[in-house]
């Protein structure tokens, strides 16, 4: 089966301005089946944007290969680009054009027929609340509005693969919600979405599979339940006590949680260790201070991410 996105042993090295050799990507491999939303996570400098540049054919890999809908990004770069709609990290808008022309020119440059482009422009402008500013020149607009236009543009196309490099950065929460919902809908209709983000809750909510990158290498990849298995000895515990006092806090601190937050009678802890030992310790504590409510669940993506980063460094 041909995957929508295939990356095999991709390496990318370049010379820095100081003349040092920098390994931006070091043997990264993954596949994304059609219709899936795949997240690329990692701290700054992890290699996410380099990978996006390789997949969107801006720069070739130093070695390895990558393809979009079966088209090699180096040998068949034009064919690969015909399958793509890309939002780069940098806010890229046609600042010298109006909002209307930004949408239309983007569609024309992707060989969308003028009549189709005009029709889509009206729909997209309405959906992204751009109707009132269609004739405004983009350089006069705020950064948030530019970001909105940049993301709106990809819905002018029906390219099967969408690549979004931190696309929702700078977007207001309501619009962000609308974009996320729309992306989910696009994936249901068979479009494949590759998303890089540092907003882990966004990835957790949206992505069906995730790869965590650090310093050009894959730290972990899989679906969210698969990633949770990597942190089987990590638990998030929510407790509601009848009362909290200094003695209780000392007892909780003695458990050496990775995180401890006390908010009135509610305690949130991230605990690393054996589940049975945790439960036994909590049972002991409850003898002196009754627990009214008790919830144990697996770690969030953010907690997995932080744990993996700590392990790596």
């Amino acid at each position: 089966m041909t995957h929508a996105i295939e990356v095999h042993e991709v390496r990318k090295s370049y010379r820095s301005k100081r003349g040092d050799s920098v390994e931006a990507l070091d043997g990264v491999s993954f596949q994304v089946p059609q219709g899936r939303i795949h997240g690329l996570l990692g701290p700054n400098g992890a290699g996410k944007s380099t990978l996006v540049k390789i997949l969107s054919t801006i720069t070739p890999p130093s070695s390895g290969h990558a393809s979009i809908m079966g088209f090699d990004v180096v040998g068949q770069s034009l064919a690969a680009r015909k399958q793509l709609a890309v939002v780069l990290q940098q806010t890229a808008t046609e600042n010298l054009l109006t909002v209307r022309d930004n949408l239309l020119v983007y569609a024309y440059l992707h060989q969308v027929k003028p009549a189709v482009a005009q029709q889509r422009m009206k729909t997209v402008a309405e959906e992204f609340e751009l109707g009132g500013m269609l004739h405004d020149t983009v350089q006069e607009l705020s950064l948030g509005m530019k970001r909105r236009i940049q993301v709106a543009k990809i819905f002018m196309l029906d390219a099967p693969v969408i690549i979004l490099d931190e696309a929702t950065t700078g977007m207001d929460p309501l619009m962000k919600r609308r974009v996320l919902d729309r992306l989910r809908g696009e994936a249901r209709n068979g479009r494949t979405i590759l998303l890089t983000t540092q907003v882990l809750s966004e990835a957790e909510e949206l992505c069906e599979s995730i790869m965590i990158l650090d310093r050009g290498q894959s730290m972990a990849s899989g679906t969210l339940p698969e990633l949770r298995k990597l942190s089987t000895h990590m638990f998030r515990v929510n407790l509601t006590f009848a009362e909290t006092n200094g003695d209780l806090v000392s007892k909780l601190e003695a458990l050496k949680p990775e995180q401890l937050e006390i908010n009135g009678k509610i305690v949130e802890m991230v605990f690393r260790g054996e589940e049975s030992s945790l439960l036994a310790n909590l049972a002991n504590i409850s003898k002196d201070t009754p627990i009214l409510q008790f919830e144990v669940r697996g770690p969030t993506l953010e907690e997995i991410f932080i744990a993996l980063m700590k392990e790596a460094r």
């Binding site: 600042n95 010298l96 060989q111 969308v112």
Partner: protein, 253 residues
Amino acid sequence: MSAITAVFFRDYRQRMTNIGFVFWDLFVPLAYLVLFGIGFERMMGSGIALEGQAFSYTTFLVPGVLGMVTFSVAMNTSWGFFMDKDSGIFYELLTYPITRAQLLIGKISFNVLLAVLGSGLAVVVGGLGLGASVRWDLLPLTAAIVIVATASWFFLFSVFAIQFARMDAFNTVLSAAYILLMFFSSMFYPLSNLPIWFRIPAYLNPMTWQVDLLRFSVLGVGSPVPLLFEGVALLIFAFVCLVIAVRALNRAA
């Protein structure tokens, strides 16, 4: 819509949305022609002698203004190119299903058309409005020179637009190029009466080659052998600028 037509449309909309560009493209050269032409013609009294023929200063200036049109159009386009890079759209353009050659051809096509229109306007204003004796029969040759020259300047200034990261540095280089290339050339005055230190760089300046060729096509004046050399030199200049621009474009990606 084909890729080249789409790039053409993009540049057309950029110019139409920012009408100040058109002012610099078309009307500033015309203002030079009318104001400089009339002012210097009255100041000098007698005309300018070239190859045994006498021309009014306004007539002499018409080919220079055509050179200025090609230069202004190319400068404004390269400024737009710099803005594209600065805003990040340049890199996004590289993800579109168009080749880099289509991108360059589309941009050149629009700007060449604009330069031809601007040059036509200058010839009409000079010939019909200001009484310059224009060789209407050589207009196709004039158009060909304008096309090659606009493309050359566009390639050259695009290299600057791609290379420079800071707008102040880019603007400084463009302003310096504007002053040096226009005034160290035969655009405003015949070079034959100027000191040798002025003439040597002026004869090496592609703007001189272009204006001398235009002076032949617009006014019918010039010696065949030097013009042939200047024609070949202008073509080589255009080709070298194209190669450098393509390399710079690939390196920037």
